[in-house]
């Protein structure tokens, strides 16, 4: 079942167009930086963007920081929102379920497919940013952590891999929310918009001091904490909390999708 869903996702032209569109913004930013040689003012741009004019090999991290707040979650919401509601809208859900597989396995296969999509998207963004950064941006390796200490190339590679993994993990919550909504509504657009509404609401609440007590539970709270992996010593606090939070969202919303979908009357 997982193999079927993966093949379907990988063979879809829309998958690759979406990934290219996600990649367009960091590519444009990289080209603009290379042409103008103007970095963001301290504190005003995405993480690591001020450093890439010196060290272009850091551009993959900056590129992930560029797509993580909006582009990547929007794509994830669209892809996950499509998972069940798309089949229902196309009238194929009945036929999918006619195969000798349980609905639970179908849900898990859909989630795995979305996760693989996120991994692909993050890898494409990181690799193309690395190529672009190496050729167009700075060529003086900074080799320094955010705290100013020197990191070996092995440490930088290990921390970058961790950061990319964390970026993928951060998208699990939005994928689970969109998948749950996809089992409820029959319009993929409605499921995607519902998930995006949750994310926008979360981002807004994070700016309010009055909502401070809610912030540890908001899905976007720890998204950009991957920068903590480049502090010295590594600040695990928010990375661990972010991981736990995303897993909790998966448990709750995938569970809700399962509870609803396994007993749902399928008419489409």
């Amino acid at each position: 079942m997982i193999g079927v869903e993966l093949r379907k996702m990988l063979r879809s032209r829309r998958t690759w167009v979406t990934i290219l569109l996600i990649n367009a913004l960091p590519t444009l930013v990289g080209v603009l930086l290379a042409v103008t040689d103007l970095g963001p003012r301290p504190g005003s741009g995405p993480a690591f963007l001020s450093a890439v004019l010196s060290d272009g090999t850091l551009f993959p991290l900056a590129a992930v920081a560029i797509v993580l707040p909006l582009f990547l979650p929007t794509a994830v919401a669209v892809v996950a929102g499509e998972a069940i509601a798309g089949e229902a809208q196309a009238g194929t859900l009945r036929y999918v379920l006619a195969r000798p597989v349980g609905r639970t396995r179908l849900l898990v296969a859909k989630l795995v497919s979305v996760v693989v999509f996120v991994i692909l998207a993050v890898l494409v963004v990181a690799l193309s940013a690395y190529v672009l950064g190496s050729f167009l941006l700075g060529d003086q390796p900074v080799s320094a952590s955010v705290s100013g200490t020197t990191l070996t190339s092995g440490q930088i590679a290990w921390r970058t891999a961790l950061a990319l993994g964390y970026a993928v993990l951060s998208m699990l919550g939005v994928a689970a929310i969109a998948l749950f909504l996809s089992t409820i509504v029959e319009s993929p657009l409605a499921a995607a918009m519902g998930a995006l509404a949750v994310l926008i609401g979360s981002s807004l609440l994070l700016t309010l001091d009055a909502a401070n007590s809610l912030s540890p539970f908001l899905p976007t709270r720890y998204w950009l904490s991957f920068i903590d992996l480049f502090r010295d010593p590594i600040l695990w606090r928010n990375v661990v909390r972010g991981t736990g939070l995303q897993l909790a969202y998966v448990a709750v919303f995938l569970g809700a999708a399962w509870a609803h979908f396994t007993t749902k009357d399928i008419t489409d």
Binding site: P46, S50, A51, V146, G148, D209, I227
Partner: protein, 369 residues
Amino acid sequence: MTSLHRWLIVALTTALAIGTPLTLRALPASDSTSTPAERLDQLRASVNEPYSGYVESLGTLQLPVADELNELGPLFGERTRMRVWWNDPTLWRVDRLTATGEEDLIRDGNATTQWEYEGTKITHTREPAVRLPRLSDLLPPELARYLLSDVDAADVSALSSDRIAGRSALGLRVTPSDARSSVERVDVWIDEASGIPLRLSLFAAGSSNPALTSTFLDFAPGASSPEVFDFRHPRGSTVERPQVVDVADAANRFAPFRPPPTVADLPRSPARDLRGVAVYGDGLTQVLVIPLWDDIAAPLRNQLLDTQTVVQLTQGPALSVGPLGILLTRFLRSDGGWLIAGTVTAETLDQVAIDLRGARITPPQLSNS
């Protein structure tokens, strides 16, 4: 399995996900019966205790903007996230954490190193006799040291215990009895085991919301390894070694004034090396006076006059920002003036300004200290 059973499992999972962190936070704190005076003694005894942790402060003070005072606005008017490793008052490191980088302060002996990641800039300074507030001053133990250093035991009462950063903390309330103070109260919670302040909230007179709160979210007593304080210049960084740390340091060393020994009945701090700048009073009734040159005082005065809540006292425009009072006077023959700032009432600020007219004028001198 019925639909009801499935939804019950989902409800249980949700309750576990939300309830587990809330339960951990709600673990009961100690029911210690120690007296307020004993807690105050415990706090004072902790001044040299080492610790490390993660701190968050939230200030609500909207300070006037001026070039030389720009760094104060974010410190006292925004949320600041910090990591700290504190071995003793001359060996510590405090990192301001931002979403795009960090800014570190490392004190080692009489020297302080500042690292700004996004500017790839290192600034080496010596520790001055007097300076403006900086990042490390926002830590709960440092705030407590400044604000509660000479608190009278009669002004202290006990607060109920709380659990802070996973540790049992004893509460203490300080309500100043001095009528000149603009502080309503200070609430502080100290670690039951070490006495180190874990949370401190400062309230302005007449306000029920704290003007400034600083709290440990993670805390560990004990010294940190020496590697944490070891800072070497990263490749490509720029290095600066300014002669003065800030405007207070510059004025203290080079301004041709000697403030009087007493203003508004507040005695001058006996701290060594204070010359052009003076600190009067102590604890929650403190005033800092700095003589400002024309090019610093004039724009600051314009900023004050443009503020809607400015009050014109007999000696100049004044502003109350939470518990902090600010008054800027004008010298007779120039646009320069005394900047008077402290946790005192407007009347006291005015009296301080009047008494400062007795400051001695000394010949300009160069100092190497």
